[in-house]
Symmetry: C2
Subunit: 199 residues, 2 copies
DNA sequence: ACAAGTGCCAAACGCCCGTTAGGCTGCGTG
DNA sequence: CACGCAGCCTAACGGGCGTTTGGCACTTGT
């Protein structure tokens, strides 16, 4: 009995993350969720205030993790290419370490109430701005090609790291670091061989 | 005979695409959908057999368009880099020209019944295979770098073209062709400047 | 031993869901 | 004019939804 079992609330959030990510928020009933935990629907309300609280908390935890992962990189002095690689490492690690809540985050944030919705779009914009600034600086430093459009470049990088939630499987042969390095190598160096790259 | 009801049916499918993409499949009720068309919930059933038929048809139309766009490229003789660019052009055009049904396609296919679900995963695999083969051939032809992993490369390309459904806005300053060219330039040539690219 | 507190259950609440049934209206055709 | 028949209506069906309530069993502190 010395082993401390997770608080009931945390168990509920874990189950909710998994079920919401597998079936979707609206397609998961409170009775489904309770059944997954071996209890009755009404019993959940001793621990939570309602269904939306679960969604809000899952999305908040996910967005906070993205935020923290990249925030500490903002003022690090590093060549732009290395910094981009490091950002992708951290970004993909957050996705990979939280596949369920990341999936919920990407799929269900539209169903949040207006304030929570606004907070998510705010996060989106700040992540966007982080990558755009990184790229803009890389261009002015001469590390990145001068003809890049920072907005499109940020979209491309974000596509790569975000879309991973649809195909990455933890426990498979690839670590999050493998994925990040592979993507960074291709993005930074390009797909074309030296011979093939004419102009 | 079925031809006569087609216009109304098409209107229903259009409304359903828009509402499903905005609110999600389960969060859109048949009464919502009917209201959007100025009718009562029950009246829909003169034109369709049920709610899932709408989802199936929307997803089928979308997947067929992806299929057709890339199928005719399979046997075209073209250098791998040009062929990849053309594939991205077509792929992004399908997304951009069908934002609503593409969004439904990417978000709601998990909620399909088993057979329809299997058909979608089949499509997914075939698109995947298309890009992998294209890249594998490009490597053996010397157009692409020899150290590329075709699987990871396909993921990267698919990330770029698929994720567009989350941010692209038709009618904005960017045409689908602009997006495809921009992404193809960055992917093929890499982000690094000539000076910065040391090995 | 007893009171307080915790965690859960069983039942019910009002509401909305997808879907069906039956009837009314207005049109095109014999 | 009579007919059939789309196309839509209103009303209702059984059922599942999120949530609330009251009470029972068990643990804990004194």
């Amino acid at each position: 009995m010395t082993e401390t079992t997770k608080p009931r609330r945390a168990q509920i959030l874990d189950s909710a993350s998994r079920l919401f990510s597998e079936r979707g928020y609206h397609a998961t009933s409170m009775r489904d969720l309770a059944g997954d935990l071996g209890m009755q629907g009404g019993s959940l309300y001793a621990h939570i205030s309602g269904k939306e609280e679960l969604l809000i908390e899952i999305v908040n935890v996910a967005s906070r993790q993205f935020d923290e992962a990249l925030f500490t990189l903002r003022d690090v002095q590093l060549p732009a290419d290395e910094k981009l690689r490091e950002a992708m490492h951290r970004h993909i690690r957050v996705v990979a370490d939280n596949m369920d809540s990341a999936t919920v985050f990407f799929h269900e944030w539209k169903h949040l109430s207006p304030e929570a919705y606004a907070r998510v779009t705010g996060w989106r914009d700040s992540i966007d701005a982080f990558y755009r600034e990184l790229i803009t600086r890389g261009i002015s430093e001469g590390t990145f090609r001068a003809d890049l459009d920072p907005r499109m470049t940020a979209y491309l990088v974000l596509s790569a790291v975000n879309w991973a939630y649809t195909w990455y499987r933890p426990g498979g042969p690839l670590t999050p670091g493998d994925v990040a390095d592979s993507f960074a190598d291709m993005l930074l160096g390009g797909l074309r061989s030296e011979i093939g790259s004419t102009a």
